[in-house]
Symmetry: C2
C-alpha cells in the first residue's frame, strides 16, 4: 500500500523481515521465543480485525497459518498463540508466537511481560525469514 | 459436530449462549467486561488455528467479526481484543473481548488476570445472545 508506514513502536520492538501477501512480517527482538508480528498494509483508520475487507482477512489468515506452520515445525514449540490486541499500539497487528512448557512466560501470555531475554543476532532474523519463505509456494517476497 | 463436548474449564468459566455457524458461543462469567469465547466444533485433536480447514477458518472468522461488531456497538468499547491462546485449555477457542481505557485491566490483557469482577445476572446473558442474533442475516441459532 502506497504511503504505508509501520508504527514507530513496532519498528523499535522488531526486526522487519519482509512481506507475506499484503502483510509486513516482523520478528520481535525478544529472542526468548519465536515471536512474529504481522501488520497488514491498510489505511491507518483500520484498527480492528473486523474492519478489514473479507479478502484482506483471508490474506492475513493465510500469512498467520504460514507462520504458525513454521512455528510448529520447531522441535520445542508445542502451542501457537495468536492475538490481535492493539490496546497500546493502534496500528492493526497480529502476534503469532511459538510457546512451550518451560518457556520464560509459560503458561502465561507474553503480552505485557517485557522487558526480557536476549536479542536475536545475525544471521538469525534472516534465517527465520528464509525458513518462512521455504514453506512452499506462497506470496513471500523480500522487501 | 456429533459427539462434540466443551472442555470442562470452559463450561465452568462461561455461560453457553448458542451457536454461530459451526462455533459454540460462550460468554465469560466475568462481567467486568463483555468477553466472548468462540469454540469451533471440531475434533479434539485440532488444537491450533492453522489446523482448521480453510472453510472452517472462514466460518470462525465470520463469527469473530459478528461478535466484534456487536462489541464495537457498545458505547464504552473502544477496542476489540481477539486471541487464540490455549496454553491451559487445549480445546481450540478464540477470545473476543471488548476493551476500553479505564476497564479493570486496561491497557493490559485479560488473560491470566482472574479472579475478578461481578457475574452476569439473568437476563443479561440472554440479552447478549439476542443482540448477537440481531446483527442481521446470519447463521445464528439457539441451541
Amino acid at each position: 500500500m502506497q504511503g504505508f508506514t509501520l508504527h514507530p513502536q513496532l519498528v523499535e520492538d522488531c526486526h522487519e523481515l519482509g512481506r507475506l501477501g499484503a502483510s509486513r512480517v516482523l520478528l520481535h527482538r525478544n529472542a526468548s521465543l519465536p515471536w512474529f508480528i504481522l501488520v497488514p498494509e491498510v489505511a491507518v483508520e483500520v484498527t480492528e480485525w473486523h474492519e478489514l475487507e473479507a479478502a484482506q482477512r483471508r490474506e492475513l489468515d493465510e500469512a498467520i497459518c504460514r507462520v504458525a506452520r513454521l512455528l510448529r515445525r520447531q522441535p520445542q514449540v508445542r502451542k501457537v498463540n495468536i492475538a490481535a490486541i492493539g490496546n497500546l499500539v493502534p496500528q492493526l497487528h497480529v502476534h503469532v508466537v511459538g510457546r512451550w512448557p518451560g518457556d520464560p512466560y509459560w503458561p502465561g501470555v507474553v503480552w505485557g511481560r517485557l522487558p526480557a531475554g536476549p536479542e536475536w543476532l545475525p544471521p538469525q532474523p534472516g534465517a527465520w525469514w528464509a525458513a518462512l519463505q521455504a514453506d512452499g509456494p506462497g506470496p513471500a517476497s523480500v522487501e
